[in-house]
């Protein structure tokens, strides 16, 4: 059987070999590949060192225990209990102190330059029907029924405003062709086929942006680890993929999907995905269909 040993993955097979997890057939194939590359088999398969874990004690354990209730306090306390200040807040403070975040804040929708609403953007695919169905016409009743993300003060009105006016939408559009492939992916291909490596260049604008987006990413992480079914797990991976594909520009349409994640209702999230994609592509007929489907799922 011919396998897919390449210059990019042969080291993974070498590791399997050295750990005794490679079949004789695969070993023969790996040896042939190594020889063909002009590499030294004996040198490559020399014994490799392992790290010995040191005993380190974290001295702040007691301060981490018994934090304030989440709801209502948001990590702030007024008594002598310790407040855990999230890292992103600390980073924001440092950045502000350095005078480098004058134009961006933790909530970019309030400071990002306003751009034209999505309804005025040109369609990605000219062949598609160009309606002017703005996302703002999403059924308000349905949006109202979505709980705001518990870790933020973001309310449905803010979400609506975000979707209508945020400058990030223009950037998100660039990722839509990849996003459109998501329904065809399974768990394995989500992890291997999509460019999940974050290659962003660091800059202060992105940093502030990411601080916001990271909150959403945590939603997906929580979903992954609390998933009890393959469907839920797949959905959380879809969320992660959206996050990665949009380089953190997650919150707008993906917030709708995230809201579905929060309630662990895959049907709602997938329906929202369809609707968002339809809106992006200005496929009027499909949008109406998707909207009806979404409403239907919300009503169940």
């Amino acid at each position: 059987m011919k396998t897919n040993i390449t210059i990019d993955n042969y080291e993974a097979y070498l590791l399997d070999y050295m750990e005794g997890n490679l079949s004789p057939e695969m070993t023969a194939e790996l040896k042939a590949f190594v020889a063909a590359q002009g590499l030294d088999w004996d040198e490559l398969t020399e014994e490799l060192p392992h790290l010995e874990a040191p005993q380190i004690v974290y001295e702040g354990k007691e301060k981490l225990k018994n934090p304030e209730p989440v709801e209502g306090s948001k990590g702030r306390s007024s008594d002598n209990k310790r407040t855990i200040v999230p890292l992103y807040v600390k980073i924001a403070s440092a950045a502000a102190a350095a005078g480098l975040l004058l134009t961006v804040t933790l909530w970019p929708e309030k400071s990002m330059p306003k751009v034209e609403p999505i309804a005025n953007l040109k369609p990605i695919e000219i062949s598609r029907i160009d309606t002017h169905e703005p996302i703002a016409l999403l059924p308000r009743r349905a949006i109202e029924s979505i709980d705001p993300m518990p870790h933020t003060s973001l309310r449905w009105e803010d979400l609506l405003s975000e979707v209508q006016n945020n400058g990030r939408i223009a950037a998100e559009r660039e990722a839509m062709p990849l996003l459109a492939e998501l329904p065809t992916k399974n768990i394995t291909s989500l992890q291997t086929d999509l460019p999940l490596t974050n290659t962003d260049e660091p800059d202060f604008g992105f940093l502030a942006w990411r601080m916001n987006a990271n909150l959403a990413y945590t939603e997906y992480e929580a979903s992954t680890f609390s998933a009890e079914t393959e469907d839920e797990r797949e959905l959380s991976l879809i969320g992660k993929a959206i996050f990665k594909l949009t380089d953190g520009r997650h919150d707008s349409f993906a917030s709708l999907i995230s809201s579905g994640l929060t309630t662990a209702k895959k049907e709602i999230s997938l329906a929202a995905t369809d609707m968002a994609l339809a809106a992006y592509h200005r496929a009027d007929e499909h949008f109406e269909e998707a909207k009806e489907h979404w409403e239907e799922k919300l009503g169940e």
Binding site: N9, K65, S226
Partner: protein, 166 residues
Amino acid sequence: MDRSQYNQCVEQYADRLFRFAFSSLRNREQAEDVVQESFARVWEKVKTVDFAKAKSYLFTTAHHAMIDEVRHKQHFASIEDCPPNELKQTHNPYPDVNEMLHKTLATLPEAQRNTLLLRDYEGYSYQEIGDITGMSEAQVKVNIFRARTALKNRLKSIDNLIDIEP
């Protein structure tokens, strides 16, 4: 997960999480920030995070926080100036060869460093490390193989140096 289980998580995993962050970042203050950040996130999600999966959730959150810390450090290096010998300035938990390996570890790319730490310190499977870091299992193995090879080459270079000395 309830409050009692959350406290149990702190007791069981805070040291290990700190060790992971400290070994990767080589900066005590940043490592403490990562630990606090990770537990803050767990507490925010305490009702939805299953106790049995809390450790993985903590390490995943810590991993992302560490990536942000590294980028933050790059940005603010001039005003925060992380001391390169942080390990020496605090305490030295790595004797002899292990110390040298950990110093070499600090020079490795982030992905290699973190995957190796998760494997050797925490004993995670390659699939679990992939879940934590967002890599495929093959990518995890490639990174770990390269990290170990770099450590091996470092050991060999030291051996050669000793052989040359009279």
